[in-house]
Amino acid sequence: MATTRIPEQKVILCGEYGVGKSSIFRRFANNTFVTRSDRQSTLGLDHYDKIYKVENKNIKLQLWDTGGMERVASITSSYYKFAEAAILVFSLDNPASFHVLSQHLLDIVTYAENAKIFLCGNKEDLVNNVSQVSESEIESFCEQCHNLINTTYKTSCKTGVGIDEMFEDIAYQLVQSNRSRIELQSMDSSSFKIVGPAENFDDDSCLC
């Protein structure tokens, strides 16, 4: 723990069930793609760290998946806590997933008010240049939410197009905007995460 700390930036995925959040997560984590998007595929996905180099500085993006909680219930507010960035994901072939974004945006603004927000239109491979969600619709959405959206990306998890570029750009933007804060953060250690030593607890008798 005492080694030089690479600043860690929590990035969360938000958006409707089925727009491809877990697929983006998989591309980010191990550059794979699973066609069947059933519930099974979200199992076990929690968060994943990846280091990006921006102007000779290392920054660690820690991407979080929802765990599928949004399928029937709402996501816990603690999912948003400590987030530095949020990616609002919708599916380019599903206008409904786009029009509901204002609700997700509200959650982000409420529970993660310092997070930078990005917009991601996914499943670009499915629309063959005739997107179900037009450029002007996207533009007017961004205007309506008072330019809270920093950048809009288009991606395809199936082909992998746009994914790397999106995260590289997010890393770049976070470094730019957080430059001073990141330095402060590495000094601040007033709150902490509890870590092991787990070996102390391996004795089963202590839990019964």
Binding site: G44, S78, S191, I194
Partner: protein, 443 residues
């Protein structure tokens, strides 16, 4: 909802969320439902502040309280023991990665109308104003004995068998007076009453060791508190459950727990929908005919704009008022958290006083606690019934948690959860089932 599950969990309070997480991790198919729109039930932290005022039918807070959104007020005050059961559960389940903590700055005990720091090592024992000169030396000897004590090494027992002899006997061996016994039993061993005096001394020795080991981990006090309030805890375990396949439903009223032949549960009904299941796990509020009232707990939330006097301006504190000091049968607990934990607006503190109700007039019972706080800007009192299940649940396969007690930490909470898990599954929870690494299931 019309599916079949191994277990349906009702209520998203801390106990139910830990159970849900453990069941999902163990490979069970879990449906987790709450009648409320939010996670946490009674273990939720109320946000924004306006909602807290509404809940207690008070006029809306004025602008001096800052932004309502900056507040997250717990309804049930508790701290985590740094080396306690809940921290072990958090580490073993990996839920610790969803949370950040701060050490509670001060731990105090009440004696004769004023408060003193709880002395925990030899140095503090000698410096403490709780005892006279000679008593300090005796107490120091006692602490050294406990420190050196090894349960597996009778040589360290010093001609005293802690497995058969009781705690009163150990106090007498060191010649400790009533007063020292009082803060040792209540502020170090954290007993709620004096029944422990007649129990084997080993239990108390273990508890004092827990206190000092917890203290050793993070410094200032043995207690931890999560940023953004205790409501983060159930949410963390809910996420664990979801990640291992648990399905969540909020805002879903439960109309009936459907029981089949032989009195065994077969499902849960909401409106016309029925979800089938083999087991139900729930809090007492979902099964009022299967629980009995064991007592009452009074909790008083106080919003104050200053630290507690005589605590060196600590931004978080626990004060224990041992029963005997105020002629009671159960201790009074005072806890303080503040804006540094992201639970209050800048400059604000939340003090909580809680105890087991003993008289017809519980508000008078907590007065010794209130008197310690200095001026109080706003006070909310709640008195809640404390329920326990009428049976073990083995026949009906409906496993019910106990209500949250007045204790100031989560040890009893965890014991109840682990016991329910054992009753429900017939085995101890196997922590090795938790995969910490992403992608294990893909290989």
């Amino acid at each position: 909802m019309d599916e079949e599950y191994d277990a349906i969990v009702l209520g998203t309070g801390l106990k139910e969320c830990i159970l849900s997480g453990m069941l999902s991790v163990s490979g069970k198919k879990v449906l987790h439902i709450d009648r409320n729109k939010y996670y946490g039930g009674e273990s939720a932290s109320i946000c924004p502040l306006e909602e807290l005022f509404t809940k207690f039918s008070a006029p809306a807070p004025d602008e001096s309280y800052g932004r309502g959104r900056d507040w997250n007020v717990d309804l049930i005050p508790k701290f985590l023991m740094a080396n306690g059961q809940l921290v072990k559960l958090l580490i073993h389940t990996g839920v610790t990665r969803y949370l950040e903590f701060k050490s509670v700055e001060g731990s105090y005990v009440y004696k004769g109308g004023k408060i003193s720091k709880v002395p925990v090592d030899q140095k503090e024992a000698l410096a403490s104003d709780l005892m006279g000169m000679f008593e300090k030396r005796r107490f120091r000897n006692f602490l050294i004995y406990v420190q050196d004590f090894q349960s597996d090494d009778p040589k360290t027992w010093k001609d005293f068998d802690p497995n058969t002899a009781n705690m009163q006997g150990l106090y007498d061996k060191f010649g400790l007076d009533r007063n020292t016994q009082d803060f040792t039993g209540h502020a170090l061993a954290l007993y709620r009453d004096d029944d422990y005096l007649l129990q084997p001394a080993i239990q108390t020795i273990t508890r004092i060791k827990l206190y000092s080991d917890s203290l050793a981990r993070y410094g200032k006090s043995p207690y931890l508190y999560p940023m953004y309030g205790l409501g983060e805890l159930p949410q963390g375990f809910a996420r664990l459950s979801a990640i291992y396949g648990g399905t969540y439903m909020l805002d879903k009223p439960i109309d009936e727990i459907v029981v089949g032949e032989g009195g065994r549960v077969v499902g849960v009904r909401s409106g016309t929908e029925v979800a089938k299941c083999k087991q139900v796990y729930c809090d007492p509020s979902y099964v009022q005919d299967k629980v009995r009232k064991k007592g009452q707990v009074i909790r008083c939330i106080c919003l104050v704009d200053h630290p507690i006097p005589n605590t060196k301006d600590a931004l978080s504190t626990q004060i224990i008022i041992p029963q005997k000091q105020v002629s009671r049968n159960s201790d009074i607990y005072v806890s303080l958290v503040s804006y540094t934990h992201q639970v209050a607006a800048k400059g604000w503190f939340i003090a909580m006083i809680s105890t087991t109700v003993e008289t017809e007039n519980p508000e008078v019972e907590i007065k010794p606690g209130l008197d310690l706080l200095g001026p109080i800007r706003q006070k909310f009192v709640s008195i809640s019934d404390y329920y326990e299940p009428i049976d073990s649940g083995l026949e009906s396969q409906i496993f019910i948690s106990e209500s949250y007690d007045a204790t100031s930490h989560f040890e009893t909470t965890c014991l109840d959860v682990l016991d329910i898990f054992k009753r429900g599954t017939g085995e101890e929870f196997d922590f090795s089932k938790i995969k910490h690494e992403l992608g294990d299931e893909e290989q």
